[in-house]
Assembly symmetry: C2
Homo-oligomer: 241 residues x 2
DNA sequence: CGTCAGGTTGATTAGGATCAACACAGGTGG
DNA sequence: CCACCTGTGTTGATCCTAATCAACCTGACG
């Protein structure tokens, strides 16, 4: 099941043009490439514990991870989804605030935190890229706050499917025949943690979407969206582009 | 009601040491000071509309504003609370994604967006300060996602009161006699928008906290917390410091 | 003195949580 | 090869929290 990463250097890296390194110029890029190292985690493994010292920051190269806040009484909320090209960790913070867990097999491109922080201080491009990515994440978090605060269960599921669909097609690159099958990186339970629901409610809303013809199952973890506009409608998103 | 700001320059500015300018060195600071201008808004005014072109970025000098996401059918969620020293806007984005509304009379220290963006590009300190602030906001947004996804109504109110208390005492500076009165910058309705509740539920939970002796009213918009630890307990936060 | 925004409280409803049973696929080991 | 187990997902019955609908209170202000 574990995918072997078939490259050792950044040429041919699948996230080369979207990750933190996307806007680096020649010299900066050389520095980054020199200090990077890969790490792999299998599905279910914890990448980082809340409260732990963070040894590294990293880009997700392949796989899916979640950022989670969990509390003694067992309540859990996923506060961030990490897909390929997303960044883990933050320069300037020593202690992790959240757990990071691999939900599928994950490959990371890591940088020792100390060295990376020096790079951020010294090379404006990287600081600016970090800033742009942080602000994008902040906007995404705010959209999710609306979802968690105001959307119905059905709308949450629909929004989540659209999110995955958007990220998937843009990852795989070129345009694909319209009714694309979308494979879901999360279990029903992991989705419920992300959507502020229970796994039973998630399951029920999937059934409802299927009954209404909004989605079809290729398998339990792979859906087909015959009409994206219809799904967008259910999600309560404008008919935007 | 409108407070007149009794200063023209940055000396004596109440947020000088916490805002975006906190870590600027002499030269950077001079540049920032040269390009700044003040704007005031009275309670209820909209500072920025979602979809509008952003002419400026700004620091909140005084007053309270909210960042809101609202949707055609009337649903509304406050996705950010802006208190003194918080930053509005983002370099590199032309169009606002959210509405920003003054909930009390607000004074901003503004910078033309174009000029500010140049400064971010050219002066590493400011880019790094922006990054640190953005990452702090991201953490705050993630904590709020937990609140919206998993906390009960009572816990949300308690958490909100603690948030305001924390920000208030740290704003006013020195330590104050223990049972501090905390003045609430938001109406019940504005709180409900922030907490993902209805205003009726907010009101009920206030009544419950009062009945349980966790809070007392100095007035409807000013509460006293006799025992912060007890409130923290209700909020479901650890007994942390 | 009347009006209105902000706030409280009550009665009822509804959406999702909770508790519970069952289905199904994939492994594992006898 | 089959029996068993475990992780994942579905569906049903019931309960409960917060939403909704509604009435009323209070104080500020013209």
């Amino acid at each position: 099941m574990t995918k072997i990463i078939p490259f050792r250097n950044c040429d041919g890296c699948p996230i080369r043009h979207r990750a933190i390194c996307a806007t680096c110029d020649g010299d900066e890029f050389v520095q980054l490439e020199a200090m990077k190292y890969y790490r792999s985690y299998s599905a279910g493994q914890t990448i980082m514990w809340a409260g732990d010292r963070m040894e590294f920051v990293a880009s997700v190269v392949a796989g899916t991870a979640t950022i989670q806040h969990l509390v003694e009484d067992g309540r859990k909320q996923t506060v961030g989804l990490l897909l390929p090209s997303d960044f883990i960790g933050r320069p300037g913070r020593e202690i992790a605030l959240y757990d990071v867990t691999a939900v599928s097999d994950v490959t990371l491109c890591c940088f020792r935190r100390g060295e990376f922080e020096k790079l951020v201080t010294n090379t404006p491009h990287i600081a600016q890229r970090m800033l742009a990515m942080a602000l994008d994440e902040l906007d995404a978090a705010r959209d999710w706050m609306f979802l968690l605060g105001r959307k119905t269960a059905l709308e949450r599921i629909a929004s989540f499917l659209l999110l995955i669909q958007r990220r998937t097609v843009s990852t795989d690159g070129l345009v694909v025949p319209q009714p694309t099958p979308v494979s879901l990186p999360l279990t029903r339970e992991a989705m419920s943690d992300y959507l502020g629901l229970t796994l039973e409610t998630v399951s029920r809303q999937f059934s409802k979407l299927k009954a209404d013809g909004i989605i079809e199952y290729a398998s339990k973890r792979e859906i087909i969206i015959p009409d994206v506009a219809a799904l967008r409608n259910v999600a309560g998103e404008g008919a935007a582009y």
